[in-house]
């Protein structure tokens, strides 16, 4: 018993010591925070006049000389993951080639976990290696990128679909433009008015793709509807196959797809149905089924950011690029499925998308519960696009509440 009492006593002393420790140290924390925000503020104050000067006449002094650019990239999965990180890795290498950067001027670190402290750790290392431009390609890295951006006001940070800040830009690709075209083609290839869509996680980036596909189908055929089935996973071949098979069995013969497996391609081949691919050209998965695929190409975005840093026009803003700049790409139309006439028609629609004549998410829009989500002539803000959580009126299906 005595020992237990002693132990309890010891514990209490420990607890007291702890609270004293945290108490003392806390007073010093806000000071540190203040100085960092101050320096960030003065940094932007300094940046603004140079920007104005740059607008008047391109001056070399404003930007970083191209030879002094050093790019640090954090990928959250392996470089050769057959999808997301692979597309980013290839785009960075293409940007390096295009701008003539040397091997020393770009460091790509892959397989960095989204969670925990690893991303911040890796960024510290990249900055220690002399990187002055940091890119995070997964939205899971947002926290670490923002915290690091505050600690390093002199470094240009870039976050995929993040919240822009003074020295942190955000970027994304308007994949809804390619999805609109794929939906348009799907409606033309369909036997009836009803199409299907096999989708991964019910998260905003996927929801946008489903909506764009449905709007494209509606543009081709005003009566078209799209049945959506969620796999609730980024990678679940069994569930995707089950979902696709059940839709095809109900008489649907065209599926849209947002995922990374070969399961839907197999189901469509077996049923003699058609589908659109995603991430990469899925033609080889199912040559008789895939009519085209959405593909990522981040190169123009990365080249633009680096060029802005060199020219001194870099700002912490949200940058979208779409089909016009080649960021959202389509794999070649499968001529075994898509007729020459339809390809000509699709090229016409693509030209309208590129010129801005067609706005995929242009008002008026209402969701499939009948609620108006966008008034006529209005436009979505970046935040609304990044956080899109409704299904447009011709989608049959639900989002988890």
């Amino acid at each position: 018993m005595k020992v237990t009492k002693k132990l309890i006593g010891l514990l209490l002393v420990l607890a007291l010591a702890l609270s004293a420790l945290t108490g003392c140290a806390q007073t010093s924390a806000p000071v540190a925070a203040d100085t960092s925000s101050d320096s960030a503020a003065s940094d932007t104050a300094a940046a603004e006049p140079t920007e104005a000067a740059e607008a008047a006449e391109a001056t070399e002094a404003a930007g970083i000389p191209l030879s002094e650019i050093k790019v640090g990239v954090v990928l959250n999965t392996m470089k050769e993951d057959g999808g997301w990180s692979q597309s980013h890795n290839a785009s960075f290498l293409a940007a390096k080639e295009q701008l003539g950067l040397t091997d020393d001027q770009m460091i790509i670190i892959d397989n960095v976990p989204d969670t925990g402290n690893d991303c911040a750790n890796t960024i510290e290392m990249l900055i220690g290696e002399g990187c002055n431009m940091i890119f995070g390609t997964s939205s899971g890295l947002t926290d670490a990128i923002h915290a690091e951006a505050k600690l390093h006001p002199d470094v240009y940070f870039h976050q995929f679909e993040g919240v822009p800040a003074d020295n942190c830009a955000s970027y994304s690709v308007r994949d809804w433009e390619t999805m609109f075209l794929l939906g348009y083609a799907g409606a033309k290839l369909s036997n009836g008015d009803k199409l299907g869509f096999m989708a991964a996680q019910p998260q905003a980036s996927v929801v946008r793709a489903v909506n764009a596909y449905a709007l494209g189908a509606k543009y081709a055929n005003p009566n078209a509807t799209v049945q959506v089935v969620w796999a609730n996973s980024w990678y679940d071949p069994a569930k995707e196959k089950e979902g696709a098979t059940s839709m095809l069995a109900s008489g649907i013969n065209v599926l849209g797809y947002h995922g990374s497996t070969t399961a839907v391609a197999e189901a469509c081949t077996d049923a003699g149905a058609f589908m659109s691919g995603f991430h990469i050209d899925m033609h080889d998965y199912a040559p008789t089924a895939v009519y085209s695929s959405h593909m990522w190409n981040w190169t123009p975005l990365y080249v633009e950011f680096i060029n802005r840093a060199v020219a001194g026009t870099w700002t912490g803003e949200m940058l979208y690029m779409g089909i016009d700049s080649g960021c959202a790409q389509l794999a070649p139309w499968n001529t075994d499925i898509v007729s020459a006439d339809l390809i000509a028609e699709l090229n016409g629609v693509q030209a309208k998308l590129e010129s801005g004549e067609i706005q995929v998410f242009g008002g008026p829009l209402s969701d499939n519960t009948g609620k108006e989500v966008l008034a006529a002539g209005a436009e979505f803000t970046n935040d609304q696009l990044i956080g899109m959580m409704f299904l447009v009126d011709n989608v049959i299906g639900q989002l988890p509440s």
Binding site: V3, K6, L7, A15, A25, A29, T115, A120, M125, S205
Partner: protein, 363 residues
């Protein structure tokens, strides 16, 4: 031919120190074949591996920051191993601690701001301790194998946190399975002008307390006796049941503190897959440090430095998976080297054997 081990009576202290160093060198030599096989220079790779983790004050500070949750888990695991209780549930106790701390930080607005961090520490410790004690109740009362139960409790804990993060605790402003961010007053202050947080002090104090407990108290002595022989301990009249629960209270509590330290010191919110295997790495660290609390602190830093350094090996084109292989190789070589330093390897040839057998027969 016959191979057998014979226990060495005495081990020279110099050899004791030299042994792990030699083993690490041998591990690196073995792995250099792998590095050469992928067409890279092993010298450059190892240079990056070590300079990446320890090459400068800045890098060392990052390694220490990364090591903090590992320290807590490994301290917790090592005290249960000292009593031969195989607590491999540090991973689950870690996330339960982080979950409790998050509950306090985000959903207890009535706590005065100055008391939030102490409350988080207490809640995290309590949650980890409770989770660990629940898992060993079957062991204490019915002698059920604790290894399986503590392991299974990990999955329950991880899925329970997932349940919260996919639902009630999800930050709806993000497209991720994260809790909302902690308010500023729930964050541990940084120390030494680095990104290291003040939880490092708690880890050091905990190590000192563990040392004093095992070396200076009767209870600590009892636990050590139980660890070497449960029978002897119960003949001596020691209460095994109470000691199991006490050990798991502190073992789980310390792992719970790892969750508090990581959530409130480094990350600032609760995330899916938060512990990322730290609870399992802790087992390795505990074994390598032979359950000595001060060695645990140092080995944790070495291990985190190696994993941080293995990110740096990517700078010379070596994939970080190789870094993981090197970590594994070091473990195998050091633990294997233990056997050779404690035992003498005796190989008897066939002829000798038969000669000996003949000798026996003639007797």
């Amino acid at each position: 031919m016959k191979i057998r081990f014979e226990k060495r009576e005495k081990l020279h202290p110099v050899w004791k120190l030299l042994n792990p160093v030699i083993c690490i060198v041998l591990a690196l030599l073995a792995c250099s074949f792998l590095v050469i096989a992928i067409g890279k220079d092993p010298v450059a790779a190892y240079g990056k591996l070590f300079s990446g983790g320890f090459g400068s004050a800045k890098k060392l500070s990052e390694s220490i920051l990364q090591a903090i949750p590992l320290m807590f888990c490994a301290l917790g695991v090592s005290i249960s191993f000292k009593m031969s209780i195989n607590n491999i549930g540090a991973e689950g106790q870690y996330v339960m601690g982080a979950m409790a701390a998050t509950g306090v930080a985000l959903f207890c607005p009535w706590i005065p701001h100055a008391l939030v961090i102490p409350a988080m520490i207490i809640a995290g410790f309590a949650a980890g301790a409770l989770w660990a004690m629940l898992a060993v109740i079957p062991k204490a009362f019915w002698n059920v194998n604790e290894t399986i139960i503590t392991l299974m409790f990990n999955y329950v804990a991880l899925l329970f946190v997932d349940f919260l993060l996919f639902g009630a605790w999800r930050d709806t402003s993000l497209n991720l399975n994260y809790s909302p961010a902690y308010p500023e007053y729930a964050m541990l202050p940084k120390v030494f002008g680095t990104r290291i947080n003040s939880a490092i002090y708690i880890a050091i104090i905990a190590a000192v307390c563990i040392y004093l407990f095992f070396d200076k108290t009767t209870r600590g002595y009892q636990i050590r006796v139980i660890g070497s022989s449960v029978r002897a301990a119960s003949y001596a009249g020691m209460n095994i049941r109470t000691n199991i629960l006490i050990v798991m209270l502190f073992s789980g509590g310390l792992a719970g503190l790892a969750g508090v330290a990581q959530a409130s010191g480094a990350v600032g919110r609760l995330q899916q897959n938060f512990a990322n295997g730290t609870g399992y790495t802790a087992i390795i660290v505990a074994y390598l440090s032979k359950f000595n609390p001060f060695t645990v602190l140092i080995v944790s830093i070495l291990f985190s430095g190696l994993s941080y350094g293995s990110v740096a090996t990517q700078l010379v084109g070596v994939p970080d998976q190789v870094g993981v292989v090197i970590q594994g190789a070091i473990l195998i070589f050091v633990l294997g080297g233990e056997i050779f330093s404690r035992n003498r390897l005796i190989i008897t040839r066939r002829e000798k054997e038969t000669a000996l057998a003949k000798k026996g027969a003639t007797k």
